[in-house]
């Protein structure tokens, strides 16, 4: 076999070229393929696609640019491009899921308000003012025990009372608070010894913040309207948080107070404070703000 040196060189060059072609597979490198696969997964997820913002476009463009240019980049540049594109893909996913949850939260908030209104209708008792004075008896304080014959006497100067449809008698102030409660559909409220208590749960604030959620602002708008129509009432804002969240409680009380102030409720009618005792077990779910309304 007549093998000349230049034939050997050409053969070697060809062999090297073929082997180098064999070790460089066509298409983008594996790390870019991984990013493309992640993007495909995002595009197949309706939660992402329906809530995608510009972040998904940015991620698409970044990965596409990388895929087209990856083979011509030096390792350091490719590494940097993969790092940035990978974060952009994750940002796209997190942003879309955040929007998805926010929309779901808004829908649930509306449903919750409807359920609370239904609950009110199921349990509320209509209040009516009793047109005539009521004659009743009252026991004198014990300091007048020397005049035992006068311990029980007829009182005819009692303030007007109201009667519920159930026939239950109650003081006028309590009845007016019940009437006020009628104007707060969809809000969690009840009458107790403190007065009319309107409760704002922890979920009505941004987590671990004093920022009111939109549903809470709508409720406070309604409450402010009702309070403007009842100038004889005072408002105490009591926040309940864990021992370690005292400052959060103060900030939330101030947020509610400021909101009512901005809606035309005279600040002199409002007393905002953080309750000193942690509510319940002190867990986050127990955090709440009570807006207590009572007559002057």
């Amino acid at each position: 076999m007549n093998l000349r040196p230049h034939h050997l060189l050409v053969s070697s060059a060809l062999a090297l070229a073929i082997s180098s072609c064999a070790t460089v597979p066509p298409g983008p490198p594996p790390e870019v393929v991984r990013l493309q696969t992640q993007l495909d997964r995002l595009h197949a997820d309706p939660r992402i696609v329906d809530n995608a913002g510009p972040e998904l476009n940015n991620a698409d463009a970044a990965v596409d640019t990388l895929a087209r240019n990856a083979r011509s980049l030096d390792p350091a540049s490719l590494q940097q491009g993969v790092y940035i594109a990978d974060r952009l893909v994750q940002i796209a996913e997190a942003s879309a899921l955040a929007r998805y949850e926010e929309r779901r939260g808004t829908q649930l908030g509306i449903e919750r308000e409807q359920l609370l209104a239904a609950n009110d209708r199921a349990t509320r008792v209509i209040v009516a003012t009793e047109p005539t004075r009521v004659v009743t008896t009252r026991t004198e304080p014990t300091r007048v025990v020397t005049t035992t014959t006068e311990q029980a006497r007829v009182v005819t100067s009692e303030p007007p009372r109201v009667v519920r449809t159930t026939g239950e008698l109650m003081p006028l102030g309590r009845a007016e608070l019940l009437a006020l409660q009628e104007q707060l559909p969809g809000m969690e409220s009840r009458l107790d010894v403190r007065g009319l208590v309107v409760r704002f749960g922890d979920f009505q604030f941004e987590p671990n913040r004093a920022t009111l959620m939109p549903a809470a602002e709508r409720s406070l708008d309604t409450l402010a309207n009702a309070l403007r129509a009842q100038p004889d009432t005072r408002v105490s804002i009591e926040t309940y948080t864990g021992i370690n969240d005292a400052s959060l409680g103060v900030e939330r009380a101030r947020a509610v107070s400021d909101y009512l102030d901005a809606r035309g409720i005279d600040p002199s009618r409002i007393d905002a404070r953080a309750a000193p005792v942690p509510a319940g077990s002190g867990i986050v779910a127990d955090r709440h703000v009570d807006v207590v309304i009572r007559r002057n």
Binding site: E55, N58, A62, R87, I91, E111, G201, P207
Partner: protein, 123 residues
Amino acid sequence: MRTAHIFLMAAAFAVSATASAADRRDAELELSQALTAVQTAEREDGARYAPADLNEAQAMLVTAQRAFDARAWTDTAIYAERAKVSGDLTVARSRQHRAEFATAEIERSVDALRVRLPNGGTP
């Protein structure tokens, strides 16, 4: 817009790579934007909701600052860009987890009301 800027930077890195070295002015700008992004991530409760991403952003920022002190402008730009995009990711994750937390709370409240009401509250 920061995200768009990030994309442009990513594209720039991908296309022209580090062949064209950054100068001091570029490095300062990148470092300043990275610092803002990391501070925003800290304010958004990143330590609570996305601690790993926040740690990454802070570590990259420290590396970028060291590179800047060593007058390595290109390295400063590279690590600052990483800090910035990691800070943005922290913010996005914090928003996601906050939303999930708040929605779960409302869902629990709705479920409790459904149980309390006759017919699950359906009219």
